[in-house]
């Protein structure tokens, strides 16, 4: 197996290398998954402070009725930034950070499958956050809510560039998330230690793995919707405005098709942490491993079929409401199964209430409250009653803070010793715990009542109705108590990192592989890997004696002989993600170009199907050429492969030239992206396809160079094969586009 070398390993000069390994630059240039994981966590902590201070400003404004502490415009901006920051810059990257640090350790690997891609994924995150906050000095932060409902986000209603920065920042963050998810899938499939078959994976790894599929499939839906919104705003199109025939409700469909899986993207890894922590501190294996693992998959599949419960108030019709109410209630079943598994794990166990365990138990209680209010919201009539009230605010904060954030805090106390080599102070930990539990419930429990008595959310102030002021004041006080608790956490992290008690390799008596190495682990993770014959290798080891430990070199060499090849896994996951992106563009095209009753024929009279057929033939021929190139490489005919690749590139360029000619012709006839919805959807769909062709040509040219220089050979055909899969995918998408756009109107 070829282990990936970091650039540091390649440096010949020992003293320069030492400086590179410890100085600040070493953190910028690192490709070590552990350092990247810590960078993720620290950056998230920074943004958590930002989002938390924003929340405190909101609570100050809402502490008294008819308050003018913040103006409505500023309130809307802070409110939007709080939501966007907490979702995209805190919860998601925190979970990715933990996964980055822990997954390779838990599966006994040296690093992620693609360490450099991993570094890229990380750096996209702070830069995405920077873009989002840059909007503040361009005339105001985005102010239309983290959900960005059209038409409020359209130009006439949000004319500052804030919304554009919001769109671009989310696109950048989305690309980073998809890249890290693909990396995670490839890592779990290809780098597991021998014996660590998938049915034995630690549940945190399994849930991160399943979540990665959710990210790969859900984020492109958001990306597609975002680019449509950007085209609306900057190119004067009308996807989401009634003026010009668009449909604002379509934005909600797209957004929540992403948004509901997103809820589980933020919840499943947290479930995974709880599934690691509760068994260790109960001194029992998890009860019903199979049910916890299987119900995760059920949640993942169902999560794509429940989005419209965010839209009951839109008026989708009784049939759709009933179906979505039923599916939303159904998704509570696999989630409930997990709760019972965790309770049954604790049942009869020798429970140790460390701070980590306290947070895990609090998670169970708070998350059940959030889950139950969620089930009430699945009933459409109840949702109509409380929609857009503080009941909803209470519900999702119980899920995201009471659920995910509590689990993350349990995770911090549990894994900090592994990351730093020192234990966090239990005394400060307990103070932190109680401040947060009291503050959290004081803040959000009362909001259930505020919602039920009708206080609307997303509004900068409220009238002085009986009880509203007092409940809101208690909410504000609670928020500040929570803020204090978070300060205690920061103090604890800083103090314990310097002066905490040394942790040793395995302070909790845990049994997954990350505890088999030193704390903190060496750059290469493991010098020796215990044998894996079950789900609890360290437990098995402790009860079988250390005699059968084997060397890491042999173990890791064995891992490469799995059934999966990492570049193939990565490219197929990437293709699935791109498929999701195009699916949304195609659905939008179909939606706006379906023959409507009473409409005057099809809207595509200006297209020349014959010339389009010609350049389609070029593209298909290029796929054939790419396939021949692969075959030639398999026969070790380097010059043949180069020739076929050159033919592929040439045919692809011909396709792009044909498309450019068509575009110019349309523009000369005055057909532009803002002409009408046909033109908008046509240019969006074919334009993005053209961009993918162009990207594919760049990749093919790189492959051509690799084959010529002898870096891509019969023995190492991974690069050419991966690019080939991508190229065939781009062509397959064009076949669908061609038949829908050019052929269908002829039928």
């Amino acid at each position: 197996m070829t282990t990936t070398m970091s650039p540091l390993d390649a440096s010949p000069d020992a003293s320069a290398q030492a400086a590179l390994e410890t100085g600040p630059y070493s953190w910028v240039a690192t490709v070590d998954h552990k350092r990247i994981g810590i960078l993720y966590l620290l950056t998230s902590l920074f943004f958590f402070a930002v989002g938390g201070v924003e929340a405190l400003f909101l609570r100050l404004q809402l502490s008294r009725p008819d308050s003018h502490f913040l103006s409505p415009a500023v309130y809307n901006q802070i409110f939007t930034m709080h939501g966007t920051t907490m979702i995209f810059l805190v919860v998601m990257p925190t979970l990715v950070g933990f996964a980055n640090y822990l997954v390779p350790l838990m599966i006994g690997a040296r690093d992620m499958a693609f360490p450099r891609l991993n570094a890229l994924s990380y750096w996209l995150f702070p830069f995405g956050g920077l873009l989002l906050h840059f909007s503040v000095i361009t005339g105001g932060a985005p102010a239309a809510g983290w959900f960005g409902y059209a038409p409020l986000t359209e130009m006439p209603f949000s004319s500052t560039p804030g919304t554009d920065y919001w769109i671009v920042a989310l696109l950048v963050l989305g690309v980073g998330s998809v890249a890290s998810a693909i990396n995670m899938i490839a890592t779990v499939l290809t780098l597991r230690a021998p014996g660590l078959i998938i049915p034995r994976l630690p549940l945190f790894v399994w849930m991160t793995f399943v979540t990665s599929f959710l990210i790969v499939l859900a984020i492109p839906v958001l990306n597609a919707a975002l680019v449509m919104l950007l085209i609306d705003r900057r190119l004067e199109a009308h996807f989401f405005t009634h003026v010009g025939g668009g449909n604002p409700v379509l934005w909600q469909h797209f957004f929540w098709t992403f948004g509901h899986p997103e809820v589980y993207i933020m919840a499943l890894p947290a479930f995974g942490m709880i599934s690691e922590i509760i068994p260790v501190f109960s001194r029992k294996p998890i009860f019903g491993y199979e049910f916890v693992a299987g119900s995760t998959v059920a949640i993942a599949v169902l999560s794509f079929g429940v989005w419209a419960h965010h839209m009951f108030a839109v008026g989708l019709g009784r049939t759709a409401d009933l179906a979505f109410a039923a599916s939303s209630m159904l998704i509570a079943v696999p989630t409930g199964v997990k709760i019972f598994n965790w309770i049954a794990t604790m049942w009869g166990g020798a429970i140790r209430f460390t701070t980590a365990m306290l947070f895990a138990v609090a998670f169970l209680i708070e998350f059940v409250i959030g889950g139950l209010s969620g089930v009430t919201l699945a009933a459409a009539p109840i949702d109509w009653q409380v929609t857009d009230t503080y009941y909803i605010v209470a519900h999702f904060h119980y899920v995201l803070f009471g659920g995910t954030a509590f689990a993350v805090m349990a995770g911090i106390y549990y894994w900090f010793p592994k990351m730093s080599g020192r234990l966090l102070s239990e005394k400060l930990g307990r103070l932190h715990f109680w401040l947060v539990v009291v503050g959290f419930n004081l803040t959000f429990f009362v909001q259930h009542f505020l919602g039920l008595i009708g206080m609307p959310r997303r509004v900068f102030t409220y009238p002085d109705r009986p009880g509203w002021g007092a409940l809101n004041m208690s909410s504000t006080v609670g928020a500040f108590i929570m803020g204090l608790g978070m300060l205690v956490l920061v103090v604890n992290l800083v103090v314990s990192r310097r002066r905490g008690a040394p942790a040793g390799d395995n302070p909790w008596g845990a049994w997954t592989l990350e505890w088999a190495t030193t704390s903190p682990p060496p750059p290469h993770n493991f010098s020796e890997l215990p044998p894996v014959q079950g789900r609890r290798p360290l437990w098995d080891l402790a009860h079988a004696g250390p005699a059968n430990a084997r060397s890491a070199a042999g173990a890791i060499a064995g891992a490469a002989e799995g059934a999966f090849e990492k570049s193939a896994v990565a490219v197929w996951a990437f293709v699935a993600s791109e498929g999701g992106f195009f699916l949304i563009l195609i659905l939008a095209y179909l939606y706006f170009n379906a023959p409507r009753a009473g409409a005057d024929g099809g809207a595509a009279p200006t297209l020349d199907a014959r010339s389009a057929g010609l350049f389609t033939a070029c593209l298909l021929a290029s796929s054939f050429a790419a396939w021949r190139a692969e075959k030639a490489l398999a026969r070790a005919e380097r010059s043949g492969a180069v020739a076929w690749l050159a033919a592929t590139v040439l045919l692809g360029v011909l396709f792009l030239a044909g498309q450019a000619r068509e575009y110019v012709g349309l523009w000369q006839h005055g057909v532009t992206v803002s002409s009408d919805l046909f033109a908008t959807t046509f240019f969006t769909l074919t334009g993005f396809h053209g961009l993918h062709v162009a990207a594919g040509l760049v990749a093919l040219t790189v492959a051509l160079g690799l084959v010529r220089s002898g870096d891509c050979t019969r023995e190492r055909p991974g690069a050419l094969r991966a690019i080939g899969v991508y190229w065939h995918f781009v062509d397959a998408v064009w076949l669908v586009v061609f038949s829908l756009v050019y052929v269908r109107p002829l039928l």
Binding site: L189, G195, I197, I198, P199, R200, Y289, E290, A293, G294, V297, A298, V301, L302, F304, G305, G317, R318, T319, A320, A323, A326, S327, Q533, G534, D540, G562, A563, F564, L583, L587, L590, Y591, A594, P595, R596, A597
Partner: protein, 268 residues
């Protein structure tokens, strides 16, 4: 006509139902010693599903009256009866590695059975074919038989009797999940589509005099009927695929297979 009368009086003797029942009996007898209780139950359930789909009031209403009833029939024939029938067959030994090559390869590649199963859903809902199936008895029969056949081909890699030929768990999950996604996309299009997928169901030929009951009594206007049809295609069919996924996972955890399909035994 009221609902009770309709449900009581429209059962028919359908050749396909008779063939299905006879086949179930033949298979049960053929299985002989290798027959298990659950296998027999699955065979009976498969036959009952087919009877319900074609010989019951559902079959009558599906024939030109209600798009949603047609969709239910479609799901029973494509997604419920075939896997039940396959599960009812006794497990067959794996093909030995010494057997001729033609026996060892899959007759249809995996992507092919996937495509056939998904095509059975998509093609029969192209407006032309969908209308033709309601207007011609021959096309209608072809539709029913093709659904059963294509459904069987689709499900063989998941629950086929040759255990060695079944897909590996992770591949199987992807196989079923992508099929669910394909169904979902079509279901979304049908549910939210502003146009009629099957114009026949707009103005049914009322040979039984039940249109007033369906439209007013059951409240199924043409729009609501199509919406319900789309949702049936989308939600319950994905539940079937999800059940398949959960079945695969539970088998995986029981046998603890590695990536190459070799079973490991868990230490006690």
């Amino acid at each position: 006509v009221n609902t009770a009368r309709l449900l009581a009086s429209t059962w028919s003797v359908d050749p396909l139902a008779i063939v299905a029942c006879a086949t179930a009996v033949v298979l049960a007898v053929w299985a002989g010693q290798r027959r298990t209780g659950s296998g027999l139950a699955c065979l009976l359930a498969a036959a009952a599903t087919i009877v319900l789909a074609v010989a019951s009031p559902l079959g009558v209403i599906a024939d030109g009256y209600l798009f949603s009833a047609h969709m239910l029939q479609h799901l029973l024939l494509l997604l419920v009866a075939p896997p039940l029938a396959l599960l009812g067959l006794p497990a067959m030994a794996s093909v030995p590695p010494t057997a001729p090559a033609r026996l060892r390869v899959r007759p249809i590649p995996t992507w092919g059975t996937w495509a056939l199963g998904v095509a059975a859903m998509w093609l029969w809902h192209a407006p032309t074919l969908c209308n033709a199936a309601s207007q011609s008895a021959f096309v209608h029969r072809t539709q029913e038989v093709s659904l059963l056949l294509l459904g069987t081909l689709f499900w063989i890699p998941i629950v086929g009797p040759r255990l060695g030929r079944r897909l590996r768990p992770l591949t199987g999950v992807v196989y079923l999940f992508t099929a669910c996604a394909a169904c979902t996309v079509l279901g979304i299009i049908v549910t939210f589509s502003p146009v009629e997928v099957c114009s026949v169901y707009l103005r049914p030929t009322d040979r039984l005099g039940i249109v007033p009951l369906l439209r007013d009594g059951w409240g199924l206007t043409p729009e609501r009927d199509q919406e319900l049809g789309g949702l049936l295609m989308w939600v319950p069919s994905c539940f079937v695929y999800l059940l398949g996924i959960l079945g695969l996972l539970s088998r995986w955890y029981r046998t603890a297979q590695d990536d190459a399909g070799v079973a490991h035994r868990e230490p006690a």
